[in-house]
Structure formats: structure tokens, C-alpha cells
């Protein structure tokens, strides 16, 4: 099913396809085509066919894709045919928004703890959680073999927090701090920095 040689740029589009297909099925649609999907996403149908062909044959010429089947296949490919437990580090405004966000579970992720090194925050409620101290985080990651973390701490604290996460066993970090983390090569990092997106758009708005 999975080829290690697939370019990351293609891997990066699969979650987008999965999200659009899930919207379609929630609207009662059962069959789609690369044209239909492409129109929703602003991606060419040729690109979509080419991307999906990297992983197998999911539709028949002329009859399109069975949405439910394609969703199942994409979930398997992306390894979200299971639920991943995730730790959230940082309980500021952004951490609170992340902790309260209801959209993770149905797409494969469950926050299982929120951690902050501010003694004033430890013990306070946040969403459905109570904020815990970092030493508890290290225990939890080790005990439950947590592999994914979301990092919502200030930039100045991000590198140290990332090193602790990696030391405890985390292998994938979603970093909300506007900085670049140095991590071992076998650890994946993805970044969310709204300003990068804004600046990418102002290039086109003279």
C-alpha cells in the first residue's frame, strides 16, 4: 500500500483529499471524480489522479471513485485508521484554543494531556483537562508510548520543550511556535505559523 519513495509534497495533499471526501460523504454524496474533487480543492484533476496513482488503483475509468472506499484507503495510507494519542504542551491562549478544539478526534487524534511549566497554571482546568507539570508529561509519554505532541509554547521555550519530548519518545511534533526546531532526523516536525501564510499572500497583493 505504501511506497517510501512518494514525494512528501504528494503525501501532504492526501490529508486534503481525505478532508474533502469526508465533507462529501457527510453531505450524502457517494461517488466522486477527480474533476469534482479538484473543483472543491482548486487542484487539477490530473494532479489528483497522479497523486492517487502513487498508492494504487482506487477508481474505474468512467465510473469515478467510491467515496467511502477511497476514504478507507486514504485513512490506511495515512495511518489514521486508528486513533493517535497526543500530548499538548503549553497552556496559554493558543494551548487553550487547541485543547478546546473539537475537530481532532474524528480525524484520528485524541489529546490525552495538557502540560505547562508555569506553576500558576498547573492544577487549573483547560477544556476537559487539568494542566499538569512537565515531569508528569515525561512519565505519560514513556508509559503510554505517546509518539505525537503539539507544541504551543513561546518561541524561546520551544527548543527545550522539543528536546524533552524527543527524549521521552515523541517522534512527531506539530509546532505552533514561530521558530525552527533542531531535532534528530527520525523525528518529524510540522509548523503552524500564521505569518508565513500571510506573507506568502502579500507577495501577490501589490
Amino acid at each position: 500500500m505504501q511506497s517510501l519513495s512518494v514525494p512528501d509534497i504528494i503525501v501532504g495533499r492526501l490529508p486534503l483529499y481525505l478532508r474533502a471526501l469526508s465533507h462529501m460523504i457527510s453531505e450524502g454524496q457517494e461517488i466522486t471524480s477527480s474533476q469534482d474533487l479538484g473543483e472543491r480543492l482548486g487542484i487539477s484533476s490530473a494532479q489528483i489522479r497522479k497523486d492517487l496513482s502513487q498508492f494504487g488503483e482506487f477508481g474505474k475509468q468512467g465510473t469515478g471513485y467510491n467515496i467511502s472506499f477511497l476514504i478507507d484507503q486514504l485513512r490506511k495510507i495515512l495511518h489514521v485508521d486508528r486513533i493517535w494519542d497526543v500530548v499538548l504542551v503549553g497552556a496559554g491562549d493558543l494551548g487553550r484554543a487547541v485543547a478546546n478544539y473539537r475537530g481532532f478526534l474524528e480525524r484520528g487524534f485524541r489529546i490525552i494531556g495538557v502540560y505547562d511549566n508555569d506553576p500558576k497554571k498547573v492544577g487549573q482546568p483547560i477544556g476537559d483537562f487539568v494542566i499538569e507539570e512537565p515531569s508528569r508529561m515525561m512519565e505519560k509519554i514513556r508509559q503510554d508510548r505517546i509518539e505525537i505532541a503539539m507544541l504551543a509554547v513561546p518561541s524561546a521555550a520551544a527548543q527545550e520543550a522539543a528536546e524533552n519530548l524527543v527524549e521521552a519518545g515523541v517522534r512527531a511534533i506539530l509546532c505552533y511556535a514561530p521558530t525552527s526546531l533542531k531535532v534528530p532526523k527520525d523525528v518529524r516536525v510540522q509548523y503552524i505559523d500564521p505569518v508565513l501564510h500571510l506573507q506568502r499572500m502579500t507577495y501577490y497583493v501589490p
Copy 2:
């Protein structure tokens, strides 16, 4: 300075270069090289040289880049050698985190108003702002010719909000809702959806 034919994938890396260079200068560094910058970012030095060469000649062989000069050039290329006024739509948990985030101004963006259609929220404080109703937003965008918006509303409300923004004159939208917006071709949209990033990583974590 600007070539319209530069691929968007290259444009998308420029803000990353700008961010890393700004970190360097804040640490007192004055000169860098494509190797040095590449190591910080996990991007090859050849890629960085190739990307920058699309826009001009910014360094000399053997002496590297003057960081301050390169920052100025990148700011001009990305049109963030000015401050852009931005409206924020949606005053939930995420809107609150965005409104309170202190990292926009120094990188070219100033939130000038926060809007929500929930009558219970209108009039309440959020960060340094008071939440206003959408009709005020439309006036503000038109009067001040605001071109950029951040959309932090639930998915179900995102399309309608986007249409209102575009009708009033907005040409670039940063969308935090996990959905794909349909907008006219001359309107840019960038998306922030943490689950897309998480699923892109779980592909690699078997």
C-alpha cells in the same frame, strides 16, 4: 524585483528565510551563507541559492549574505516593507488566541478589528479590542480598503463569511476553518488546519 512567473512553492519558502534571518540578526549575527541558513531550516543550500536567484543577486561568492540587506530585500519582495491592516473574523477560543498573539506586528501585520455575529459576544472585550458586529466589519473594510482577513469561525460559517469579506473588498484570507473556500480567482486563500499537518506526519510513523 518581482517576477510573476516564480513558482508559488518558492514564494512559500521566502517567509521562512525571512523568519530565520530575523532570528539571526536578533542574535547579533551579521553575515550568513546558504549553508548556514540551510542548516537552520533543514533545506539544502543549493535550494536556497536557487530560490533566491529567482529574485536577484543578494550575496557574493565566498563572502555570503549580508543579513540586514537580505532581510530588506525579502521584505520588499514579499511586500512586508509596510504594515498591512487585517480584520479578524470569529471571536471564539481560536479568535481569542489570534487576537492576543503578539507576533504579527513586527512581521508586517496589524489586527485592526475583531468581528463576530454572536450578539452575546458583540461588545465584549477580546485582547485589546471590543468585539464588533459584522456590519461594522463591512464598513471598515470598505472605508479603510482592508485587503486581508483572518477567518477563525466554525467550518459551517466560513463560506458565508468569506463571501462577505470578498464582497467588501478583501483579497487575501487566512482561513483557520478546516474547509475549502470557494472564492473568485483573484482572491488568495491560505489555510491553517492542524489535522492536515498531523496526518502528514502519521504517514511516516507506522
